[in-house]
């Protein structure tokens, strides 16, 4: 992917929705090449924080991509810089996977130029990286939940944005699909992209994220390396549960399982 090496930082960001402050004094520094995870209980403001970072909500404070302030970016340029993968897409059926992925090219096209996106190399690369090439001609509404996730990621990658934001991409995925999806995110980070992801599963945070931000009721409780953040005392404080090191069931992908099997 192109344009790697942009970090995403937030300084003292507040987000209000209908008069209520959802996020308060949010700070973040997500570096290129890292997977940064947001964790926290339901209603902690993880998705809201992610949407604000994507430029989809009004905010006060400062959000920067590299050295540039987010709210000063023109719409299309913002879409070329930040890709956002929603928790649940409202995509209506009837359009093909290739057309969905091609939507990612919109921000690169001139106003009245036509939709030549599906011919663009970035679409092919994004579909290869997420292994959805075989689904190219399938209709969106015929895809399984796991396939839809990967198609949405492919659309985000087709924008060639250096920063990719994902809202709970592993929710509703079974254990194997979830782990494969997270492996894919690690590969993207390895290639120099900035990945920010909301995750519910603390094990996944610990295993796949470089850095983590633990949120509770709109505030940052802890932020640092994922091992520092997902620690027993923090988890007790935020979730009210006891973290039992090495006691819970753990999973990992089989060594033979990397790429031969379809995701």
């Amino acid at each position: 992917m192109t344009a790697v090496g942009s970090s995403l930082s937030a300084h003292h960001v507040n987000v209000e929705r209908s008069g209520r402050r959802i996020i308060e004094a949010f700070d973040l520094c997500a570096a290129a090449g890292h997977v940064t995870a947001f964790a926290g209980p339901n209603g902690a403001g993880k998705s809201t924080a992610l949407k604000a970072l994507a430029g989809l909500l009004p905010y006060s404070g400062s959000i920067r991509i590299g050295a540039r302030e987010l709210r000063r970016l023109p719409l299309r340029e913002r879409a070329r810089t930040l890709a956002y993968v929603p928790q649940q897409s409202l995509l209506q059926g009837g359009i093909t996977t290739r057309d969905v992925v091609s939507q990612g090219r919109y921000s690169h096209q001139a106003s009245w130029s036509v939709w030549r996106g599906s011919l663009h190399g970035a679409v092919e690369r994004a579909m290869l990286a997420t292994q959805v090439m075989g689904l190219a001609a399938r209709r969106w509404d015929e895809l399984s939940g796991g396939e839809q996730r990967r198609v949405l990621l492919a659309r985000a990658l087709a924008t060639e944005a250096p920063v990719v934001l994902l809202d709970e991409p592993t929710a509703s995925l079974d254990v194997a699909h979830a782990l494969r999806f997270l492996e894919l995110l690690r590969q993207l980070a390895g290639a120099g992209q900035t990945i920010v992801v909301v995750l519910h599963d603390l094990q996944q945070v610990r295993r796949y994220a470089d850095r983590a931000v633990l949120l509770d009721r709109g505030h940052i409780v802890a932020s640092g390396t994922s091992a520092e953040v997902i620690a027993p005392e923090r988890i007790r404080q935020v979730y009210g549960v006891e973290l039992e090191e090495n006691a819970a069931l753990g999973y990992r992908l089989l060594a033979s399982d990397s790429s031969e099997r379809p995701l």
Binding site: L56, R78, S89, I95, Y106, W115
Partner: protein, 352 residues
């Protein structure tokens, strides 16, 4: 110059160029089929109605009359179907009709107001050297522009599509009430009432070259630009938030969609082609054939909507009744059952 030439080439490729080869052939076949149906309908439409084309003295007159009328029917149907596709895309709802923005009831009210006031003040004579038959169409266009200005001025386009929908709905009721008020004021003048009913239910018996020119300018001048918003409408099918994250300027898309819908509905209403259901059933049927991508759906709706109304108008003329049926009666009788089926299908879809 180079840039212009390449962008024209891009436009041509837009309809057929970006899809796979087999898909392209299939689309071409479908558009050709639609074209053939249109030709057949036009031929039927020329031969429908009273009056024998074999009569050497009159056949040229008949052909000219029916050609104008068929042309107006085609443009009116095309306008309604394209406007339907645009509002359905804008509100992400296949059950939205072109009248939801209040522009068609605004056009109706404008036409009726001009009709009544010219009758009351000028006793039917037309001012400014305008021909009398064009007074009402011009009133319709002005009425549509007024409701367009109101909807753009009052609806918070920045906020959401729902606010726009509500504003349109309220304006629509307002103009309908004003129309009814006007009708109740002139209820003793049955000729006036008759013309007003004809206008609101659609009837093309007055269509001539002037109406054809007016519809041509309004409909082609707005269906083309509406088509240029295909990509944005496609992206909007993913929801407003996702479309915004992919770079779509939503307020701008809403603004121009409302503008083109207003001109399209104005064109249809002004020439007497205000028929119900065309903007609903034609896009619905074409989505099965042509898919959901607006770059093909909008041209298909233009051809399909035009063909549909052409046939309905031919049916109006062919039925051996003392008075011609209004267009809305015919389109409604066809449309309501299809619409009920569509609702049942949607219900089943959500129940699953």
């Amino acid at each position: 110059m180079m840039r212009m030439r390449s962008s024209i080439r891009h436009w041509i490729e837009a309809v057929l160029g970006t899809v796979q080869q087999s898909e392209r052939t299939r689309l071409l076949a479908k558009f050709s089929a639609l074209g053939l149906v249109l030709l057949a309908s036009a031929w039927l439409s020329l031969h429908a109605g009273r009056g024998d084309l074999g009569d050497a003295a009159l056949s040229a007159r008949f052909v000219a009359l029916r050609l104008h009328r068929s042309g107006v029917a085609f443009l009116g149907g095309a306008a309604l179907a394209v406007a339907g596709v645009v509002v359905q895309g804008l509100f992400r709802n296949p059950l939205a009709s072109p009248s939801v923005l209040g522009t068609s009831s605004g056009a109706l009210f404008g036409g009726e107001l001009v009709l009544v006031s010219s009758y009351a003040v000028l006793a039917g004579a037309a001012p400014f050297g305008l021909s009398a038959e064009m007074l009402m169409p011009i009133g319709c266009v002005l009425g549509a522009l007024l409701s367009l200005a109101l909807v753009l001025g009052l609806a918070p386009l920045r906020a959401s599509a729902v606010a726009l929908l509500l504003t349109g709905f309220l304006l629509s009721s307002l103009f309908l009430s004003l129309s009814e008020l006007l009708k109740s004021l002139v209820q003793e003048k049955w000729q006036l009432l008759r013309v007003m009913t004809t206008l609101s239910l659609g009837n093309l018996s007055g269509a001539g070259p002037k109406q054809l020119a007016l519809a041509g300018v309004l409909v082609c001048g707005s269906a083309g630009p509406a088509w240029l918003w295909s990509r944005e409408l496609d992206l909007l099918s993913s929801g407003e938030e996702e479309a915004a994250s992919l770079g779509v300027d939503l307020p701008r898309l809403r603004f121009w969609s409302v503008v083109w819908t207003a001109f399209l509905t104005a064109g249809a209403v002004a020439v007497g082609a205000n028929a119900v259901f065309v903007g609903l059933i034609v896009p619905h049927g074409l989505r099965y054939l042509f898919g959901y991508a607006h770059r093909t759906l909008i041209p298909a709706a233009f051809l399909g909507g035009g063909t549909f109304l052409l046939c309905c108008d031919a049916l109006c003329r062919a039925l051996p009744l003392r008075n011609e049926l209004p267009l809305s009666v015919v389109t409604g009788l066809i449309g309501a059952p299809v619409f009920l089926r569509m609702l049942a299908r949607l219900e089943r879809g959500t129940a699953q």
